[in-house]
């Protein structure tokens, strides 16, 4: 579209190719008092895209609860920080790398892991765990096989090499991701509370130091690409995908942590999206100072790189620091020992401008505030669509005899089957502190050298979110809360990775607004604040948006590792008990989608009061040592959850409960439920605790044998079920 009133020297098409709207360009001209040169245009483009500026989402994100007694640092820094006692803190964040991973799955996923690791160790934390939330298209879509294999080996390739265990995550398959997969990577690190590093530059005259890899021409405009929709020509964008070098990152990690032991670093920021541009501006803005950088001094991988290329390169494994000048030589020696680049490229100034020099000439000069504070912020129009109606299912709609067959079909489906094929490609044990490995509700990693641990889990049900974004938003938060509780931990805080379609469409913006409202209500009720996060919008291909996917990563604390619980059944003769009522809500369940190939019936609703009561009860029962194993009841319903406990423990169960609506009872996805294995000695005590807390608690079966036997329905060998459970994901990759 040509604007006939275009009155600027700069070509209109150049502005558009930089992803800037014409009125945004006018704002730049107004702020600078002149038209920007090409380098400056590139800088504005990088800073004002959705990925860096959060221009569509900021207004709504501010509504999320972000404080709590254990919150040391909420959103706004490289990662969130929570207090885990004894002077220790956990530092964590989740981030998306969706578009690059669709274009080049191995490198896209690998650099996603690399980026989130840097966010965490920039703050002074040693990364101790990686997780990932992945969404692919339909299992039989022609691209799924290639994307799944590529993403999994990319995540493994990076995490295994750097030596941080990949301990958990989630994978979904749904046609809404056929043209736009989601790769969300989360890292959790541990630091000392009095040794957290921030990004605010300070001290006029202090050196600005570049460390890590050299800068090449890779990934130029990656952040702009991440803020645009896909179309048929998107393959042409492959050169904007960065290439990861986990070995250099390992060296950078060790060198940074070694330097952080000294009192040398005043400010530090990793060069992630938009590279040198965003890192330098972030540091200057946070510190309310200016920076002057001599681009000729930037270590370069390619010859004759222009100022534009240097500022927009997204070469990986680089950091920017402001150092105490008296420690410069000591710092240089550390980086030299690790064979890494170390170059003083500029200084802190009091001009509050970003001034770039190249070969003695000034090539850019921009006031920091127009880049950051004056960045566009939109309160986009939104429409909240009616949630899908809730359907009442009746026993006569189902064939009573199909229960065990249906169970088998369901656990073979890639959405419910074992993820073993994936996690066996990840080193999930390096660092030798993994206490609960992948495959349980939450992974548990010991805090090195102590008897406490962190429990962590990622979750989201995009189908729930699509059919009722408010309840779906609540669910994503609550599901991680339940997983963490079932592992024996106290849930503390979350990070969020908000993956949505084009926010300029009111119905997409409406999904975003409603998911946030649901998340916020759940976080407030459960005292489970948001401490970090990331937004990925424009996840669309040819105008078709993905399902709303607010992926949540939760972290909890286990003060005493002897209280860790797993989902494996442990002992013959124990009772299996259910916490929480089952009310036959089959709408949008895995049963309806897998067995009936439909997506209808409405998202299950969560009563947050019940959720809190049931969760607190499980926590208390674990603390009082009344519980042998625990599992939350999630997608697939109670029978899938029971089967998971049996398969994991290689034990059978006799289910005694009688019901006049077996499909409703066994496959409904009513919320706020857990399954607990309780020894007969502890049963009365457990029941009493439940009664005292107004919690629905019922014995439904007895552990033992090698079959799942359901009264009036039939038997299923656990070992046979397990074979079905463990094959389907692997089959996609062949």
């Amino acid at each position: 579209m040509t604007n006939h009133n275009w009155q600027f020297q700069t070509e209109q098409s150049l502005v558009e190719n930089h992803g800037l709207k014409l009125d945004e360009f006018e704002k730049i001209v107004e702020g600078l008092g002149r038209e920007p040169n090409l380098t400056e245009l590139g800088i504005f483009s990088a800073m004002w895209n959705e990925h860096c500026s959060y221009k569509s989402s900021k207004f709504w994100l501010k509504k999320l609860p972000t404080s709590g007694e254990r919150v040391v640092q909420g959103p706004g820094e490289n990662a969130g920080v929570i207090d885990i006692d004894d002077g220790d803190v956990a530092v964590f964040k989740m981030e998306s790398h969706n578009h690059p991973s669709f274009l080049e799955p191995y490198q896209g996923a690998a650099t996603g892991v690399g980026g989130i690791l840097r966010d965490v160790f920039t703050m002074g934390a040693r990364p101790v765990a990686n997780l990932n939330a992945l969404r692919f298209g339909e299992p039989n879509h022609p691209k799924t096989k290639h994307l799944l294999s590529g993403v999994v080996s990319g995540i493994g390739g990076y995490g295994n090499c750097i030596g941080v265990p990949t301990v958990g995550g989630e994978v979904n398959f749904h046609p809404s991701y056929n043209g736009n997969i989601l790769v969300n990577a989360m890292t959790v690190g541990i630091a000392k509370k009095d040794k957290i590093f921030y990004s605010a530059a300070a001290g006029v005259g202090n050196p600005v130091v570049y460390v890590g890899s050299k800068t090449g021409r890779d990934g130029i405009h990656g952040a702009t690409m991440a803020s645009a929709e896909f179309d048929e020509d998107s393959e042409d964008k492959k050169p904007t995908v960065q290439v990861g070098d986990p070995f250099t990152e390992k060296l950078l990690l060790e060198a940074c942590l070694e330097l952080m032991k000294e009192e040398a670093i005043i400010a530090i920021q990793d060069m992630g999206a938009a590279g040198l541009t965003s890192s330098s501006i972030e540091m200057a803005s946070k510190g309310d100072v200016g920076l002057e950088i001599d681009l000729s001094k930037v270590p370069m991988r390619a010859k004759n790189m222009s100022a534009y290329e240097l500022m927009l390169s997204e070469s990986q494994e680089r950091m920017l620091m402001v150092l105490d000048p008296s420690k410069e030589e000591m710092a240089r020696d550390i980086f030299k020992k690790w064979d890494l680049e170390f170059e003083v490229i500029g200084k802190v100034t009091d001009t509050k401008r970003l001034i770039l020099m190249k070969s003695g000439k000034e090539v850019a000069s921009i006031p920091i505030n127009i880049l950051v504070e004056d960045a566009p912020e939109y309160q986009r129009d939104y429409i909240v669509e009616e949630p899908s109606p809730i359907k009442e299912y009746k026993p006569e709609d189902f064939d009573q005899n199909s229960i065990l067959n249906d169970l088998n079909t369901m656990i073979m489906h890639p959405d419910l089957s074992s993820r073993k094929w994936i996690w066996e490609q990840y080193d999930h044990m390096v660092m030798a502190d993994t206490v609960v490995r992948p495959g349980s509700d939450a992974a548990v990693v010991r805090v090195h050298g102590t008897n406490k641990g962190l429990a962590m889990s990622t979750d989201c049900s995009p189908v729930y979110c699509k059919h009722n974004p408010y309840e779906g938003g609540k669910h994503a938060v609550v599901e991680t809360w339940r997983n963490i509780i079932a592992s024996g931990a106290l849930p503390i805080a979350i990070t969020d990775c908000m993956n949505f379609g084009n926010p300029e469409k009111p119905e997409i913006m409406g999904q975003f607004v409603e998911c946030i409202r649901g998340m916020g209500d759940a976080c407030s009720k459960l005292n489970y604040p948001v401490v970090s996060g990331n937004v990925s919008l424009y996840n669309e291909t040819n105008g078709e948006g993905i399902y709303p996917t607010p992926a949540i990563g939760g972290v909890g604390l286990i003060k005493d590792l002897s209280n860790v619980k797993t989902l494996s059944l442990k002992e013959d003769g124990n009772f299996l008990c259910v916490v929480g009522k089952t009310a036959n809500h089959l709408g949008t369940s895995k049963y309806i989608s897998i067995i009936q190939s439909k997506e209808e019936g409405g998202t299950p609703e969560i009563n947050l009061d019940t959720e809190l009561r049931n969760g607190n009860f499980v926590m208390d029962a674990i603390k009082q040592k009344l519980i042998t194993s625990a599992h939350d009841v999630g997608e697939g319903g109670i029978l899938v959850a029971i089967s998971e406990m049996c398969m994991s423990g290689n034990l059978g169960i006799t289910i005694e409960i009688e019901t006049d609506f077996p499909h409703g009872y066994f496959f409904a996805e009513d919320q706020s439920r857990y399954l607990l294995e309780v020894s007969p000695n502890n049963y009365d005590e457990c029941q009493k605790l439940a009664n005292n807390n107004d919690v629905y608690f019922e014995k439904i079966g007895i552990v033992g044998g090698d079959k799942i036997s359901i009264k009036n329905i039939g038997d299923q060998q656990v070992s046979v079920l397990k074979r079905s459970f463990e094959t389907s994901i692997e089959q996609i990759s062949h």
Partner: protein, 223 residues
């Protein structure tokens, strides 16, 4: 008791093995940076797992040329016990201390899971107390290969330390995770003072790991 753990750029099991040694022997091993040229008197030198030099060249090839390796080769020839785990095994092969080659896993993918190993040699300083043991593997290139002449030599000389086996101790194709010839999980040098193995005993060395079978290897040499 003095032990040393070598640290290469890209080593990532150096701390894990040091912690295991400390827990088992109550002696703190000394960490040795790869650019150093000699090790003082030592009762055990460990070349740990990881991705030395990113494994960008053939695994272990770059690290085998690090300055410290000359002294390790010399010490090994003098009879000092040297243990290479995972990437450490690859490095010891590249430095010529052990026979064979470690190729890409037959599945062509990285494998991280518990396996079982059975000692074949039961007389070396490392294996004298060994039994069937469970411990994790975590590697991309653990598919052991030797020529038929070399195989005969290591068999005749009782140099096969461990073989992958099943719950009943049977060495079968089914129990072979990575395609290794003869299910070989670890081998010794001729003098039986150098052991290279793909499984990670340091990750099965305390209750929190869920299994303590890996302790035996350290105990037999440290105590």
């Amino acid at each position: 008791m003095k032990s040393h753990v070598i640290v290469f750029p890209g080593s990532n099991c150096d701390r894990d093995v040091a912690v295991a040694i400390k827990n088992i022997s109550s002696h703190q091993p000394q960490m040795v940076w790869h650019k150093e040229t000699s090790i003082n008197q030592s009762d055990l030198i460990v070349v740990p797992g990881g991705f030395s030099y990113g494994d960008y060249l053939r695994c272990g090839a770059m690290a085998s040329t690090s300055p410290i390796m000359q002294d390790i080769v010399k010490k090994a020839k003098e009879g000092v016990p040297v243990l290479g785990i995972c990437n450490g095994f690859q490095i010891l092969i590249e430095s010529g201390l052990l026979d064979g080659a470690l190729m890409r896993n037959s599945s062509l993918s990285f494998i991280c899971r518990d396996i079982l190993i059975k000692p074949k040699n039961q007389s070396s300083v490392f294996t004298k107390n060994a039994q069937v043991a469970k411990m994790p593997i975590a590697h991309n290139e653990g598919n052991f290969f030797v020529t038929s002449e070399q195989l005969k030599k290591i068999q005749d000389n009782d140099q096969i330390a461990f073989q992958y086996c099943d719950e009943n101790g049977n060495v079968s194709e089914h129990s072979n995770p990575n395609g290794s010839l003869e299910n070989i999980a670890g081998i010794l040098n001729e003098n039986k003072n150098v052991l290279g193995m793909m499984p990670h005993p340091e990750r099965a060395a305390e209750l929190a790991h869920g299994c303590e079978d890996g302790k035996t290897i350290f105990e037999s040499i440290l105590n």
